[in-house]
Structure formats: C-alpha cells, structure tokens
C-alpha cells in the first residue's frame, strides 16, 4: 500500500499528488513513469514522474481527470492509500550535452515538461519554456515552470491571458527571430506534439516527444504500447516513452490511442 501524503488541486481538471514510495523516489529520473492501480478492481494506469524527493521518499504525479480511473484517483485524499505503485519505468530523458533548448508543454503535458526542463537546465542548458493552455482558467504550474526555465512564454488558445495562439505560433516566432535551439522537447496532446514536430522538421531541429499510448504492464510484456518509429516497431514502455519526433508514424499513433474508447464508455464510473 502506498500512502498519499500531499494533494493539491491545480485546476478543475488537474490534480497534484505526492505518494510515499521511497524506493521509487530514490531511483527515478526525469522522463520516467510509474504505473498504479488504485484498488483491487482497478486498472493499471501510467503517469509520468513529475518530481521526486528522495529524502521524504515521495513521488509526485500530476494527472488530468479524463476517465474512470483518474476520477476515482481524484476522490482519494491525503492519508488514503493506493494499492499498487510500480516504477520507475521507461528510459530516462537524455539531458546532457545541449546548450539551448526549447521545452514545449501543452495542457497537462506541462506537468511532464516541467521536470524535463529542470533536468535540462541542471545539465547546463539554456532553457526556454513555452506552455500552452486552452484559457487562463486552466492555467497551472506557472511558478514551477518559471523556476526551471530561463524564459517562460505562456500561451492561451483564446488569448485570455493576452498571448493568443497555439504553442507552435510562439515557437515559430522565436525561430524566425533567429533563435538557435539544438533541441526541442514537446510534451502534450498528440496533435500538439505532431504540430511541433512538423514545424521543427522544417527547421531541421532535433525534437523529442513523450508518447503516452495505452499500457498495461509497462515492462515490455503485452505489446499494447507499440508504436512505429523509424519504420521499426518499438514498445513505448521500455524503448521510450521519449522518441525522436521526426521518426514517429504519427498517423498510426493517432489512430491507436482511442483503442478502448467504446469500452471505456461502457464503464460504470464513466457514466456517473
């Protein structure tokens, strides 16, 4: 059993949770993830490790309520327990050897982008962060993102914070103004990552994205998380979750995501 030691509501859809898991906290690196199961009848679902504190033995996850399990998880409070918690899974991000990096986050993807920005900055890179949200109501983690980047640009789709436009608008603006990035990291919904990938391909900038296909075991056992990368089949849970954006078969990845949409609709909790 794993205890929830801290919970904070970031916006109506997104929650921050610190979970006591000392062994995972000791080992985890930026870019890796955990899989948890709330209770005996629960499904196994993956979340990126947003932060860890080896001293306190805690692991932070930041999750968006999208369906049955994330809603169930959100009903738990500080002091409650999660039945299973396994990690750290996947490969750590490569953060060494970059000088100027743009880290682009979209929505809840900012939760994953921000530790990545921190790791890159700790490794010596200049980090610009571009964070995109639908509107100011769901803006979150501004302070955290500002603290791990040299410059932070927050964009809203509807312009409600005064910066109207998708993250790609800002990124293009920076590139056209002569910014020379040796790496772009994009984390967020698939269409956003794909748009960033298409843009940076034109500019010939190496781009890394964090993929989140459906997973079960997270150890390479089921093949459910497979993607085509550079013409080869890769398992996101062991070969990823981060991949070279320019090698991903985006059409296939976008099609595979709603795999269980129909079945999830039939799920008891979803109908509440």
């Amino acid at each position: 059993m794993f205890k929830i030691i801290y919970k904070r509501v970031l916006n109506p859809m997104v929650t921050w949770m610190d979970i006591e898991a000392p062994l995972v906290a000791r080992k985890a690196k930026a870019g890796q993830f955990i899989i948890l199961r709330v209770n005996e009848s629960g499904e196994r679902i993956p979340f990126t490790i947003a932060k860890c504190d080896a001293e306190k033995g805690s692991v932070t996850i930041i999750f968006q309520k999208v369906g049955g399990t994330t809603k169930l998880l959100d009903t738990l409070e500080e002091g409650d327990f999660i039945l299973d918690f396994v990690g750290p899974l996947g490969r750590a991000s490569e953060v060494e050897g970059f000088s100027r990096v743009a880290v682009v986050g979209g929505g809840v993807g900012c939760a994953i982008a921000y530790p990545e920005a921190r790791a890159l900055r700790d490794a010596g890179a200049h980090v610009d962060m571009i964070a995109g949200f639908r509107n100011t109501d769901i803006l979150m983690l501004e302070e955290e993102m500002a603290s791990v980047s040299d410059r932070l640009f927050v964009m809203t789709d509807d312009g409600s914070n005064g910066n109207k436009g998708f993250v790609t608008v800002k990124l293009k603006e920076l590139l056209d103004a002569g910014e020379k990035y040796d790496l772009v990291v994009a984390i967020g919904p698939l269409p956003m990552m794909r748009a960033v990938s298409d843009l940076t391909k034109e500019y010939g900038i190496k781009t890394i994205v964090s993929m989140n296909p459906i997973m079960i075991d997270g150890t390479g056992m089921c093949g459910g998380c497979r993607l085509t990368v550079g013409g080869e089949v890769k398992f996101a849970c062991v070969d990823g979750p981060e991949f070279d954006a320019h090698l991903i078969d985006w059409d296939e990845a976008m099609k595979r995501l709603p795999q269980y949409r129909q079945e999830e609709k039939n799920c008891r909790l979803m109908n509440q």
Binding site: S41, V86, I216, T219, G220, G223, G224, E252, K255, E263
Partner: protein, 463 residues
C-alpha cells in the same frame, strides 16, 4: 485389486461445451473418488516404471497410483509432493501426452493411464481435506533473492526456504504467479489453486515483494549489495512476437499476452473490474500452441461468434496440449490449418476488418524436425474478422540482461547457463525456466527451479 481391463481412460466429467463456452468456470470438474479408484486400477504397476522416466521431475507414478487404490489419498499426495511442489497445477496443465503418459504401457493397446487426472484428483483432495501444517526450517543465516514468481521462481524459493534460507521473491506484477496468473485462463487453471500454492510458500517464510521490476527499481548488483548471496532469475519469456506483416498497427490487433493479461490478471471479463477488453464479432487467432488455444477460447467466452485459429502447419504439428485442442473444437472454435496470414486490412478509422491469408503445403523438415510449410502461389483469400490476436510465441524479456553487466544471452535472448550448475555467466546469478529455454512448460520451469535451489545451496555452502 484386479487390473481394470478398460481400454479407455475413465472419462472426466466436464461442463457441457455450449454452457461452458459462455462462462469462465473450470471446464473439467475432476474425478470423483469412484472414478479415481477405477482409473487407478488400470495401472499395471510395471516393474521397469517407464512412466516415471517420462515425467521431467520423476514422480514415482506407480506408487502414488497404488495409494489411490488403497484409498490412501493423502499418502498418495505425499508421494507426489516429494518431487513436485505444484501437483494441482501440473495435473491440470502438463502436456501429459508427450511426457508421462506417452511412456505408459497401457498406451500401447489403448489409452494410457490418466496420470494427470489422477494427480489432479489427489492434489484437489489434499487441498479440500487436509490442513497443511508447515514446519518452518531453522534459518541458516543466508539470504537468496529470486526474480520472478512463475513456476521456476516459486519452486526455487520453496526448496531454498525448506533448507533454511531466507528467501525474497521480487515480482514485477502486482500479483505473484507468473503465467499461471496472467496467461493460463481460469477455466483451465482456477486462480484459487495457484494462490493457495503461493500462500503455502508464504507459510514457509518466503517473502514476496510485488511491484518490483528488477533492473529498474533495483539492479541485480544492488541485490548483492543488499546482502543477498545468490540470485535466481526466473523472469520467464514474456516478450511477445508479432507476425511482422502489414496492418499490425490497426485497432483490434494485439498480442495474446495483452488479451490474456486483460482477462486473467485484470479480470476484464467481470463487470466489477475496470480494465476494458475488446469484444469482437469475429476473431482470428494466429498460432497453434497453448497460448493460441487459450486466446481463442477466451474470445469465444467473451461472446465472439466466429473464432478462427489460423495455423501455418497441419493439425498433427500443433504444439498445443491435445486436450485443449479437443476442448476448443467442442466449443466451436474453427481451425484453419496450413494457412498463414500475409496482411491485415482495416477500415477508414483504422479498425481491423479482415485478414488476408495464403494456403500452405508441407515441404522438407526444418531444424525443429517438423516439415516446413511452404506458401501455395495465388492462394490468397480474405477472412472477415474485427480482431486479430498474435499467439506466435514469446521471447525472454531483455530488461534484466541489459541492466546486468556480465550476464550473457544467446541469439534468441535466452540467458546462457552452465547446464550442470544453472549458473549464468555472472558469478552467483543462477537462472532457469523460460528465461533460459524460451517458452516451454510449467513442469520444465519447475524442474529448473528445483535444480537451481540445490546448486545455489552448494554454491553458498562452498563460499
């Protein structure tokens, strides 16, 4: 008692095929006492005991059968238990027709003695009627780590605990049992049976730590640093192979591992569990082994109208247990032999809508001694299906190998061990089961776990 001349095995009571194809309850309900005694009296108590040699763990088969005739079922259980720590499992899932029963003298003129069924009867009798009193061995002060809780790991851990070792099993999943829990379905091997075996290990003092992916949370090196003096790797062969044909990225194409894990481990077939499962109208399962049979029969139970097993060789080459093939046919699974898939087609949304296959014929024998299937030209045809399950084999997972310096594997990813000692290329690290042999059988994995326990004991005593 006089020898029973009956040429056939005493039939096993089973659920009606139509009824059982819609539930996950066990197919065979097991012998009654009368049936068991009737079957036991078919045994000739042969002096040269050929059957014993056919069993990979050399159970004293005529002895346990003799006890059944005498009505001493617990005594019979004790005979089996001397060499087999999971009789309730083996009685149900061993490929008896190619192991113990193939050697049985009664098989020359009729059917062999139903050794597996009798073993199951005795094990079930024990479970139902005898309270195990476990005597924990006196601890000898040495610690051993076991990676993986499949039959290899469980057997190794149990034997070491009985010798006085302090044993900890590390399991990646949230539940112990390996393939016995996530692969083989409830209707063939009830999960209660497996959990009972596992709880008796706990009674022996074995610690089981779940949610621990070795190679990630702890490396093998760190296990040694933590004070474990030897490590047994029984991590199985969990990496699914795909066919490598166009269309495998379509929705509705999955590995048997994914399909079976959702069903068996995550219990997706029960309403009160949250894990979703795809329920297809029509399913093609590619492969001809036990895994293919299990996937096909699960699909049927989830309500699929047509379920095809697509296998590129002929019926007699199928590696699945005979009984499973027989049961699958009864349940309405359709077998397409000498048929191989070449492409999977989908609709505009990316959902599978058919699988394209070719007909095969058998040519020259290949390395495995089986005749190699060769494609018949222009025999392409479509099969309308909305789900395709790949059950064409598994390879060992590379996680541990990649995270352990000095641990070597062969071309197929199987860990290399010294055959006599089961020690890997890394000192103090032993391995056995599917991780070494590639996908094999429960009883072979247990045999390896047993041998490894002895070798680990020797290794530690010599240090």
């Amino acid at each position: 008692m006089a020898i029973n001349k009956q040429n056939e095995k005493t039939p096993m009571p089973e659920q009606d095929p139509i009824v059982r194809a819609a539930n996950f309850d066990e197919v065979s309900t097991g012998y009654t006492t009368e049936m068991a005694i009737n079957e036991a009296t078919r045994c000739l108590d042969c002096k040269h005991r050929p059957c014993v040699g056919g069993c990979p763990v050399n159970i004293e088969i005529p002895d346990f059968i003799k006890c059944i005739i005498q009505g001493d079922f617990e005594g019979s259980y004790q005979v089996i238990k001397q060499t087999n720590s999971l009789p309730a499992v083996c009685g149900r899932v061993c490929p008896q027709e190619s192991q113990c029963e193939i050697k049985c003298v009664r098989g020359i003129k009729g059917e062999p003695v139903a050794i597996g069924r009798l073993e199951r009867f005795v094990a079930d009798y024990h479970m139902k009627n005898v309270e195990d009193t476990v005597k924990r061995a006196k601890l000898n002060g040495h610690r051993v780590a076991v990676v993986g809780s499949g039959p290899a790991g469980l057997t190794c851990a149990g034997d070491l605990a009985k010798m006085g070792y302090e044993v900890t099993i590390f399991e990646a999943f949230h539940t112990a049992g390996g393939v016995l829990m996530y692969g083989i379905p409830e209707f063939r091997l009830p999960k209660d049976v497996v959990q009972k075996e596992i709880s008796s290990l706990r009674d022996l003092g074995v610690k089981i730590e779940t949610n621990m992916v070795i190679g990630k949370i702890l490396s093998i090196e760190e296990l040694f640093e933590d004070g474990f003096e030897a490590v047994f790797v029984g991590s199985g062969a969990g990496l699914p192979n795909f066919m490598g044909i166009p269309g495998e990225g379509l929705l509705g194409v999955m590995s048997a591992n994914e399909f079976l894990t959702r069903i068996n481990l995550m219990k997706a077939y029960l309403d009160e569990y949250d894990t979703p499962i795809r329920r297809a109208h029509s399913v093609a399962v590619v492969g001809g082994g036990n895994v293919a049979m299990d996937a096909a029969r699960c699909a049927k139970r989830l309500g699929s109208e047509s379920v095809y097993v697509v296998y590129r060789r002929g019926e007699s080459e199928m590696p699945a247990r005979l009984e499973e093939v027989h049961h699958a046919k009864q349940e309405g699974i359709e077998f397409l032999f000498l048929t191989a898939p070449v492409e999977i087609h989908g609709d505009a949304e990316g959902n599978v809508n058919s699988i394209e296959c070719v007909k095969m014929e058998l040519g020259e024998p290949d390395a495995s001694g089986r005749r190699r299937p060769v494609e018949i030209k222009d025999s392409n045809h479509l099969l309308d299906v909305d789900m395709v399950i790949a059950a064409i084999g598994n390879s060992p997972n590379p996680l541990i190998r990649m995270s352990t310096p000095g641990l070597e594997a062969n071309r197929r990813g199987c860990l290399i061990v010294n055959e006599d000692t089961l020690m890997t290329t890394r000192d103090g690290v032993f391995a056995g089961g599917d991780a070494v042999t590639g996908a094999a059988t429960v009883i072979l994995a247990m045999g390896a776990g047993k041998q490894a326990a002895m070798e680990i004991d020797k290794y530690i005593q010599e240090q």
